[in-house]
Symmetry: C2
């Protein structure tokens, strides 16, 4: 008898859903850790199991999608906090190459597969666009859990993901315009210019501004001033980046990066942020799994299409991004290649826009959905294998996303 809080929305059923999602995610994470598989895969599969495809205990909803987005925003904010701007600039050229080649190949492959499968010109363009954008959250979570966010290939992946997102925005704008039969090159240039200027401005100047401001935060009376200002900056730049046209996580990442130098030694701030990430990221992962529509397998021709698109998505990112890192060792090229494979929520959103515009038909949508979830499941084990040596060599496991204050730590001051 849920009487209290039975206001406009039924809180009891929402909180029940959140409980089921969290419990299922943590259970599957434990199971997958014991199987020596990446926990993220377990958490995404938890979503497949409890979602509409199988048990139907929880269905995607507005509230869940917002929590999921806040989760991935904080995940990228946490990653940004570990990433000094210099470390990205140093690998800048390589990141651009990785980003650009990792966009071109999947787009072209998606276009030709869809065209060969009988899709219209607009449809084929949209499938290409949906193949483009890497969901860097998945990779960041795995590398963060391994304590490897600070090695060179991780930096390149993070930088390339930013480039990738901006290119994805431009392609999506172009494709949307083409499908509506009205391409304004001035409008496109404005969109692209705004996204690039915003990103460059925050990346170049943000850190300097924060390095000046942060020391004065100590004079604030507010409790936990660094953390609270960090929260506001994180949400603020997420909003700004959405309005500029790029994904919220780009803004969150830039916000973290702007604070990275100034709060480098501030473990309290990292711990507080990590609490939010740990609580909300499962909703992001489970929500991806819940998007999977297994009924796609009722139609054998869709199975074939889904598998072809998924294979193409994996191979083209791997090859494109790997080639972008030309000059590095084979293993490093492969690390960057697998790190860029996950598509996740971004591919889904692009496909949804196509569906909304009436451009993409049902079987293409189902296949892209399958590809988006499947790539997030395929990449983490590959990342784990390819990065396992780095972990063994430098022994920095658990430093980053899992800042591990010893349990019996006693309070200082």
């Amino acid at each position: 008898m849920p009487i209290f809080f039975a206001a406009a929305i039924d809180h009891s059923s929402v909180i029940l859903s959140l409980f089921i999602m969290l419990a299922a995610a943590k259970l599957m994470a434990e199971v997958f850790e014991r199987l020596r598989q990446p926990a993220v895969v377990g958490e995404i599969l938890a979503g497949v199991v409890i979602g509409p495809s199988l048990l139907g205990w929880v269905a995607p909803s507005d509230v869940i999608s917002i929590l999921a987005e806040i989760g991935v925003i904080f995940l990228l904010f946490t990653v940004g906090l570990e990433t000094k701007p210099q470390a990205i600039f140093k690998v800048g050229k390589r990141a651009v190459m990785v980003g650009v080649l990792g966009v071109i190949l999947p787009f072209v492959a998606g276009y030709f597969i869809a065209a060969a499968w009988g899709g219209s010109f607009a449809e084929a363009m949209f499938i290409g666009a949906a193949m483009v954008a890497t969901s860097v959250g998945i990779t960041a979570r795995v590398l963060g859990g391994m304590g490897l966010l600070d090695i060179e290939t991780s930096r390149i992946i993070l930088g390339a993901a930013v480039i990738d997102d901006i290119l994805g925005l431009i392609i999506l704008s172009l494709v949307s315009a083409v499908s509506q039969g009205s391409v304004s090159y001035v409008g496109l240039a404005e969109t692209a210019g705004a996204a690039i200027l915003f990103t460059l401005f925050v990346a170049l100047i943000g850190s300097r501004i924060m390095n000046r401001l942060v020391p004065s935060f100590e004079r604030l009376r507010l409790s936990k001033p660094f953390f609270n200002i960090g929260l506001v900056l994180c949400l603020g730049l997420s909003v700004a980046s959405i309005y500029v046209g790029v994904a919220a996580i780009i803004g969150a990442f830039l916000a973290g990066m702007a604070l990275a130098e100034a709060t480098e030694k501030n473990h309290k701030m990292h711990n507080l942020t990590s609490g939010i990430t740990e609580f909300l990221v499962p909703f992001f992962l489970v929500n991806i799994g819940m998007q999977l529509d297994l009924s796609v397998f009722r139609d054998t021709s869709v199975i074939a299409l889904a598998i072809i698109i998924t294979l193409a998505a994996v191979v083209t990112k791997f090859v494109g991004c790997g080639l972008g890192a030309w000059g590095m060792s084979r293993r490093e090229m492969a690390q960057i290649g697998v790190g860029m494979i996950p598509r996740g929520e971004v591919g889904i959103v692009v496909a949804q826009i196509g569906l909304g515009l009436g451009v993409i038909s049902g079987h293409f949508f189902a296949s892209v959905l399958f590809m988006a979830v499947a790539t997030t499941l395929i990449a983490p084990p590959l990342i784990k294998i390819l990065y396992s040596e780095d972990r063994d060599n430098d022994g920095t496991e658990d430093v980053v996303l899992d800042i591990d204050i010893s349990e019996d730590y006693t309070r200082i001051g």
Copy 2:
């Protein structure tokens, strides 16, 4: 041009709202700290300012109300983590007296005021019911910020708030039944019995179960096992308590209390939880402020009614709960009295139920809304004044909700 994530719900406008709420809350908290006033008052007023009453930048919504509820759930979970069951049982009898008297007086006062103001029998019963339930989150936040959750009067307030919520449930069930003209005493007894049994069971057995289980969490492969199990338990007992009929925060408080002994020295767990609380509690506070409808002041007779109901709400809780603590010092009685004054979200929800049943008319609803917000604004400064001596004496400021790991803390292990 918010293209990405423009799915079913407009994420960009939701995240913009969250940013505005958080930024306004932290700004007002800073201003109020500088004025030596409680930060919570600033945060609630931030909601009044940015809400529909004044600027209209943000309006209450489903997503915000869920975030607000998760915020107060974690707030009470954090408070529970600081509260060993023995500490509550020790003050049990007194807490029952405080709870019972603090329910009877406001109910009777509300009933007679509404009846005298021309309300129907059912309406008067509902106004009485809406005056009953203390919103303990506000008090817990203020006392937690002062580091005073572990003193005797704080324990009594926490225990009394649990009693208060159960009594509130019974009264609301009774009143709802009466207003529908069908009172089933068996049904009422079942409702009351389930709530009481659930609360007693978790309070008495929960801690013992957790004390046994917690050491074995170390064998889990999951990252941050204590924290993650704590999260699941917190949401699980919140859901259970909603289904039993009491507020989710009671379950969250009991979950925290069950873990209090086993995780007493686990500062990492407290810090991680505190990150979530710090991020989400502002939404709870701002959301209360946003409920205030200042247009009530256009009608002078409603002003009078709102002020009378607010005064009655303050005086009857203060006197009722103060008398319940008979035998303690005057100051302690006053501390308990003021600690129980805030009504906040619970009073609003009861009034909304009455509105939904067509029992409460508009001017009574507006007045209860005003009372609910006004009591949360009146109580914190009084709490701060009445508790200031305790803080100065034992110097434990900032220990509890504000576990303060020194900024230059370097990692152990």
